[in-house]
Point group: C2
Chain length 355, copies 2
């Protein structure tokens, strides 16, 4: 089987971690035998913006449309306002390709210790299903009375039944398919009194279709606290765009940090390419030093393999990451070691061959 992979390495540490992600992908293909990944690299990043006045060409989305999947490194540079780099590249891709699920595992890998004193591997193993196309990131809004003391800015949170139903359904389906018992929906319907009560209603409606799954609606403030105090009570967490964003960075911090955290921007119907990317940013402060942790990207590649139906291979990649971490020999600085990005990537590849 051949897969066409579009690669956007991006800015900062993006290209450094992507190199290891791609090397791993080729190693996985070699091991499998019957698989081939053809990668095409696109230089769309903040440098590109400075040269062309836009983050990607006008027909960028049309180009990407032809691929089976997209791998993204990290986007962002101090020279370009974040809301430009993000709104002209990452967010248009998520939306145009109906990648309405942002899937983010929160899992403490073997060999790692949580910063939470009393919590171990059994306590920290759940998944966050983040809505990825609407909600708080609506792009709708503006300003009035600019430059006066009466200036104001409005941003609309827009929640559609269409958008909420599909993400909530996906979360329940995932819970059911993976044999999970509990679904927690993040809300804030006490303070945010139009959109979040609507979200709650739809969660309750869909929950009726899954009587075997225990549903909880938890306000985002309490939920953030519960991530710390009782992470073992979560199986599948479903959250709006913003709440999912917050919960997954927080979750990442509880299982070893952003250097490890992967994500999949998924179009479950496979009508469009899905996109896989580490949750971390471009980290300009350490870019060029070769010390970034490539695990978030490699784990994202593992999720990509899952998505393509190569579940066994995906599992093998994640197992190899865990083996290397459990061995405690090769570790990047974020994990307290001195290994380089390349050494870390190489150790995982070698382990993959060994397995």
């Amino acid at each position: 089987k051949h897969y066409a992979v579009a690669v956007i390495a991006g800015d900062g540490i993006g290209p450094e971690v992507m190199e290891e992600g791609l090397a791993l992908l080729q190693a996985a293909a070699e091991i499998h035998g019957g698989l081939a990944f053809e990668t095409s690299t696109f230089p769309w990043n903040c440098r590109y913006y400075q040269e062309h006045g836009r983050m990607m060409p006008e027909d960028g989305l049309t180009t990407l449309r032809q691929f089976d999947v997209i791998l993204l490194g990290a986007i962002g540079d101090p020279s370009v306002p974040d809301h430009i780099s993000v709104w002209e590249l990452i967010l248009p891709i998520r939306r145009a390709f109906q990648q309405y699920v942002n899937l983010r595992p929160i899992k403490l890998l073997r060999g790692l210790e949580s910063p939470l004193r009393c919590k171990g591997h059994a306590d920290l193993d759940f998944v966050v299903v983040r809505e990825n196309t609407e909600g708080e990131y609506s792009n709708m809004g503006g300003r009035l009375h600019e430059g006066t003391p009466y200036e104001l800015a409005v941003q609309n949170n827009v929640f559609t039944r269409y958008g909420v139903e599909r993400i909530v359904r996906y979360a329940y389906r995932l819970a059911k398919e993976t044999g999970k018992r509990r679904l927690t929906a993040a809300t804030k319907s006490n303070g945010i009194n139009h959109s979040m009560p609507f979200w709650d209603e739809i969660v309750k409606e869909v929950s009726l279709e899954y009587p075997e799954i225990e549903t909880r609606l938890t306000h985002i403030d309490a939920l953030s606290a519960y991530f710390v105090s009782c992470p073992e009570t979560f199986d599948v967490v479903v959250a709006s765009n913003l709440f999912g964003d917050i919960l997954t960075d927080l979750g990442a911090a509880l299982v070893g940090g952003l250097g490890l955290a992967p994500s999949g921007n998924i179009n479950p119907e496979k009508n469009y390419p899905s996109m896989f990317e580490p949750i971390h940013g471009s980290a300009p402060d350490i870019a060029g030093t070769g010390t970034a942790n490539p695990i978030a990207t490699i784990w994202s590649v593992s999720m990509m393999l899952d998505h393509l139906g190569e579940r066994e291979l995906g599992r093998l990649v994640l197992d190899s990451i865990e083996d290397v971490l459990a061995e405690r020999r090769v570790r990047t600085p974020d994990l307290g070691g001195t290994a380089t990005t390349r050494e870390m990537g190489q150790a995982i590849r070698e382990q993959l061959y060994r397995r």
Copy 2:
């Protein structure tokens, strides 16, 4: 000096913790000698709603207006939708009385251990200044195409220059007055591209007036992670209504839980009464058992004393709480002990007399 205190004990554990808060307040007055607190109790809660169809009388705000300060227990009962109980009582008070600062210390008290493995008392001692009147809790929005597949809900985030400037200024002033070096402003201007860039602009403008203070704008997702990974890097955190809400519950979980976390809804100009309340909710599950931790309420009383200018007495109350915790003898169940609400309150009062 006489102070008139309006007391709204509320629902669930509200009345139980309030009883200890008030007993403490009278003890403090006795110790001080020259102070007297006249309390008036208002039965405004969800039961009141069921009887009267509203959370407080029509002239409720006019009544409260005449007091120096308000003490609130907790509001909320499963029988009344949260967005009603909250929007007809707590939020109108915060707004009508221009309590635009919600002040929330995140401080690991003596005698307590953080759930964070490597963090101690020196690491966990900062304050969150939460905007308390606008932003994401705007009450503006609604629905369209109800009951059809095309149904949608919109909620407007409304940020005014007036509202943002005053909260940001307050935060800088607080940093300066308390000799703090760093101010961190929570943002999400990469994803929320109208309101949050506006917020950022105002933070940057005001920061120019405080060159001696180091300003950082940090996205709320990363910031939540930093609360876990490097809480020692915060002095004053300023945040919008929603972000402040999330950060302070998270922060509370890092320093012993919601049973301890106090807050002040403050009108700095003192044109209106300010309101002090524990961050926790009404906890219907443990209401009536007499096991709720009253410390959040007692600490809120300490903050109230600070606000009234009785700083020494406020300090004494907090010291007494810490003494009792450090002694490890009397602890409520949330802290791993078996003491009742009353025993905990009494121990703190006794310690206050002893000091």
